[in-house]
């Protein structure tokens, strides 16, 4: 019976040995990086430097970025399953319900690039002030924040609610001009949301659902709708 037990021990020993020996080289420059940068523990700190000896990620001429075995997600991701979509803390608690809903301001008054650019465009502070110059902000802390930002000349640090991964090419221009309603992707801001909240996964499958058979395609392209639909399924349509 000893044999089986010893065999089992060998197994454990192997895993341990492999890992320790594998990670050992990094100790020294784990300290460096700790002193240099944040003291927060990252797996790359205990990875031995590349074969060149010194840590390639700190090379002044030709830095190499290591693969983070444990990706730091900052807790939350700006796309993916909706139930994980957090209601983000915004610098100003802006209410879409009020502006787009009650006041009936058109989306494109503020997001004015949507027709012209890949970005819909977050309104410049100036645009807000067009109206808020004349709206009293006494006892209205959110508005005071706004004016404070405007006077300081600093941009308002909004948090991105809808954010696609960087390998995706998404053009608001094409979608808006194609007649896709803002609400189809962003949800009913005017009625349901104060601070914007993501209501769709923004994942590839979700995009494809429309790209396969969106009624607008037939409307806009008529005879050549089939071709257009084929084009819309081409990976290069959305991938950089």
């Amino acid at each position: 019976m000893r044999s089986q037990i010893i065999a089992a021990i060998c197994f454990v020993a192997l895993i341990a040995a492999g890992l320790t020996f594998g990670l050992i080289g990094g100790e020294s420059h784990a300290d460096e990086s700790a002193t240099e940068e944040s003291s927060s523990f990252e797996i790359r700190d205990v990875i031995p430097a590349g074969p060149s000896g010194s840590d390639p990620s700190k090379d002044e001429l030709f830095p190499l970025r290591p693969y983070a075995l444990i990706p730091d997600l900052d807790g939350q991701v700006a796309y993916g399953e909706v139930e994980y979509a957090p209601l983000l803390e915004q610098p100003i608690e802006y209410s879409h319900k009020l502006h787009a809903g009650e006041l009936q301001i058109a989306c494109e008054y503020c997001h004015s690039q949507a027709r012209r650019s890949i970005h819909a465009g977050v309104p410049e502070t100036e645009t807000c002030m067009n109206c808020h110059k004349v709206i009293p902000n006494e006892g209205r802390p959110e508005l005071q924040k706004l004016t404070a930002f405007y006077e300081s000349g600093d941009p308002i640090p909004w948090q991105k609610v809808h954010d696609l991964p960087d390998f995706v090419y998404f053009s608001h221009k094409r979608h808006v001009r194609g007649g896709v309603e803002c609400t189809e992707c962003h949800g009913n801001m005017a009625q349901e949301m104060t601070v914007a909240k993501r209501v769709n996964t923004l994942q590839m499958g979700w995009c494809l659902d429309c790209h396969k058979d969106h009624p607008k395609v037939d409307e806009n392209y008529g005879a050549s709708a089939a071709l257009r639909r084929a084009e819309l399924k081409d990976c290069l349509t959305c991938h950089k």
Partner: protein, 454 residues
């Protein structure tokens, strides 16, 4: 269908009693010798160093290895093909030879099958290790996903995935079925938890005639089922190359040529493993020159086929009058990789010829050394095919030269350590010689109870 024909050719000491066999074969499972510990120690060291190399590569990218452009494949694929090749002999010996009813397989086939399975497990490491983003390697398996994406079934790499996994599954089942009676023997020899463990593996084997009848039927069926796979798996691996149009790869000769090569190296590996095994565990009674000689003859046959294939490659290249084809074959002989080529030729075509002499192929030392030489040669054959063809692609302006560096060597060491880890564990937990089948070679003893069990 227990064998009815005479056992005269079976070179086994017929004085042995069934009980003697069982205890001889199971002996090593209850002892822990020095050579074993030493071996395990080496294996652990190898795994540790290899593990370090793999972590390096995972974090900083494949660049830590010696790859260049356009030499995109190198040592990893070489070693992958090498291990798949090793993985051939086992199933071949046990299944095919079983169907041909050749006696000499009985002593060696158990270990050979184990070798097969571990070799395939080792080979399976490499596709993962060699892809640029191994954390995405699972994309190679077709599974429903939200991206609504599917795989490309035109790609030989996809065929590989299926071929290798099928081969692995079938060999494992076949291996297990062969083990059932011996698990029963283990069950009866052990006590407590361990005994229960073996008991569950033996799925209630009692060795009754009825069980034997079903057993042999099942065994025969899986033998027949495994046989075509022996041919298919390496043919498909060879298509990784033959389906590409890279000069030096794009050849219809590859499937038979690869299969022959695989059996060649596989049998050699069996010899390499068995010679020390029978010596250390004192199994000369069960595994002896008689078996090795048959394996050696096997090698002579397949080695001959291989040599023919080499010559034929050159004939085709010359006859095609294709400047790229002929360019690459000339390059292999006299170019940067001349040494690889000549190691391959010497080890695969010339050295084994010594086995034409009975003296040589019945001498254990000669068998052991030459079998190792053969495996070195077979590794270099794959390296020769891969590295040289890629180093001199079609456009001379993009030519390059590639050599593996210490990271890749580390991974190579890892693969061997990984293989021997499993093999060493195997000889300690399972009988490395098929007790039941060896007994078949013995004259049936006087009628008594529970033959197979005692």
């Amino acid at each position: 269908m227990a064998n009815t024909n005479s056992n005269s050719e079976a070179k086994v000491d017929t004085e042995l009693s069934y009980g003697q066999v069982t205890s001889d074969v199971l002996a090593p499972l209850f002892t822990m010798g020095k050579p074993y510990m030493a071996g395990m120690g080496l294996v652990l060291l190898g795994l540790a160093y290899g593990g370090w190399c793999i972590i390096q590569q995972l974090v900083w990218g494949l660049g830590v290895a010696g790859y260049s452009q356009p030499d995109f494949w190198g040592l990893y694929i070489t070693t992958f093909v090498f291990w798949v090749g090793i993985g051939h002999a086992g199933t071949l010996i046990s299944a095919v030879l079983f169907l041909f009813r050749s006696k000499w397989r009985t002593g060696v086939y158990r270990a050979a099958e184990a070798m097969t399975i571990f070799a395939v497990m080792t080979a399976a490491l490499f596709p993962a290790l060699h892809v640029g983003r191994m954390w995405n390697a699972y994309w190679l398996f077709p599974y429903p996903n939200q991206r609504q994406l599917w795989q490309n079934f035109k790609s030989p790499l996809m065929w590989d995935v299926f071929a290798v996994s099928t081969y692995f599954t079938v060999s494992t089942i076949f291996f297990y079925i062969g083990l059932i009676p011996d698990f029963a023997a283990m069950r009866d020899r052990t006590r407590g938890v361990i005994s229960k463990m073996y008991g569950s593996l033996a799925i209630g084997w009692r060795g009754t005639d009825r069980q034997w009848r079903h057993y042999m039927a099942a065994y025969g069926f899986f033998a027949a089922f495994a046989t075509p796979l022996v041919l298919s798996v390496h043919s498909i691996v060879s298509w990784d190359f033959a389906m590409a149009q890279t000069a030096g790869w794009h050849s219809t000769l590859f499937p038979p040529y690869f299969v022959a090569g695989a059996i060649f190296s596989g049998c050699a590996m069996v010899i390499t493993l068995m010679v020390p095994l029978s010596a250390i565990f004192k199994w000369e009674k069960y595994i002896n020159v008689w078996h090795f000689e048959h394996l050696a003859k096997m090698c002579l046959l397949t080695g001959g086929i291989l040599t023919y294939a080499y010559l034929m490659e050159y004939f085709i290249a010359w006859y095609s009058d294709n400047p790229y084809e002929w360019g690459i074959f000339a390059f292999r002989v006299v170019g940067d990789y001349w040494w690889v080529f000549w190691i391959m030729v010497v080890c695969n075509c010339i050295v084994p010829l010594i086995w034409w002499f009975k003296k040589a192929r019945t001498n254990l030392w000669c068998l052991f050394i030459v079998s190792i030489v053969i495996n070195i040669g077979m590794w270099f054959e794959r390296f020769n095919i891969i590295a040289s063809s890629l180093a001199h692609q079609f456009d001379p302006a993009a030519w390059t030269y590639y050599l593996p560096n210490y990271i890749e060597i580390g991974v190579l060491i890892f693969s061997f350590s990984w293989f021997f880890l499993w093999f060493l564990l195997f000889v300690k937990v399972m009988p490395s010689v098929a007790i039941a089948e060896v007994k078949e070679l013995l004259p049936p003893p006087l009628k008594q109870k529970g033959v197979a069990a005692k």
